[in-house]
Symmetry: C2
Subunit: 274 residues, 2 copies
Amino acid sequence: MTNNLEIICIGNELLIGKTLNTNANWLAKRVTNLGLNTTRITVVSDNITEISNAINEAINRNPRFILTTGGLGPTFDDKTLEGLAEALGTTTETNQQALQMVKEKYQSYAKQTKTGEIELTAARVKMANIPKGTKPLPNAVGTAPAVVAKHQNVTIFALPGVPSEMKAIFDESVAPVLQQASCGVTFYETSIETVNVMESEMAPCVDEVMHTNPYVYIKSHPKGEERLPQIEFHLSTTADDVDVAKKRVTEALVQLTELIRQKGGKITDIKSTE
Amino acid sequence: MTNNLEIICIGNELLIGKTLNTNANWLAKRVTNLGLNTTRITVVSDNITEISNAINEAINRNPRFILTTGGLGPTFDDKTLEGLAEALGTTTETNQQALQMVKEKYQSYAKQTKTGEIELTAARVKMANIPKGTKPLPNAVGTAPAVVAKHQNVTIFALPGVPSEMKAIFDESVAPVLQQASCGVTFYETSIETVNVMESEMAPCVDEVMHTNPYVYIKSHPKGEERLPQIEFHLSTTADDVDVAKKRVTEALVQLTELIRQKGGKITDIKSTE
């Protein structure tokens, strides 16, 4: 079984450039640090067929997990769960456990209103309509429950689009599952910032270091212009053991640093994160 | 022919969460303002098969344009043009016009070096290897030429990942083509910020306003929590004429504003952009 994971972000606001997709970035970073590989991020509109197609296409690439964000709320354009149901070949129904979660939320909000009551309208009940055979997950921060579905070998988590809600549910209900799945694999990365060498000049050096250190992936990120070069080299690896990961990256770093100096480059910063 | 466009972003740094995908956001906003619809954003790794698959899948959805970002540089992991070639059923070859562009760049950089010379290494020539039958586009800011390809009814632009280079090439070589294709369609949007109404309470009101104003799309973006509600309502439309677009959004806005007030909500800000 692979450790592959796909992220699907749902929302017209992402496709018109109104909203910067910080959710995908946050999730990708957390997923990587938990030892899994994000193999694709897909952004689609608030349209049932688009959502269903994106989920089906992801399922057919056989990842271990799919995370969706967005489209779980009370409005007409929150269509993720209908799209998920279509992808799973089923329909949505009011889930009693989800309805209980929604009711309890409004009961707690109602205490703060003048009348002490909040009506359970159709828009509010809608948040408890989830695909048959799936389970609701509690939303500690907001109202709409998240959903977990199992389909063939894929586990699908449908998370809200509001960042604070998405993050809280990820940490509570998703991260523990991913961590267990990755069996303690560690991602380790180091970045070095350089000046005075061109990316094109360093390209064969990067090849050489990666050839000597086959488990380390090195990517150069030009930041200035080619003629006023400022390059970040990002070295990363995954390993079962954090010390092994560190040792691999360090060995590659020593070799790369020496080659940068030989080419007349200067290292201005080194940053490591686990 | 549709006005649909897909964006494909290539780069492991996006999939490990190292880099926030500001390129997709910038492009999506510009594309929308030029009157086209971004229907999907896909992020894949620096892998020829992944890139080729993503491009092929996009082609099969029959958009009018595909924009790719990233993977045009001199290093081993800049694989976009090989992926594009594979998707187009061809291979890359050294394009003389592209080679001339690369040569001229290095000649101009060479003037600033001590020796006055920069060797045209394999890594540098690599940037002039583009798919057969495609054309290079000048890169005013950086070194690697961009590429334009026509396949069936789709025009594909392969742009660099470095934001300053991507933006310059988009403005110079892509925007004029998109503008002509959209035949002057205008996108118009207005946002209003509210407090004291819950998103779930406003959901049926939004339905009502969209029913009365079928050309206006309204989306609510909760910013606070459901119990301490702070909602942004985003109204948008596209029309052949900017005055028509403004009139449509304004009529919907008047109706929505009244409904927000009736529910006890307060409007704290209104922003319009063209």
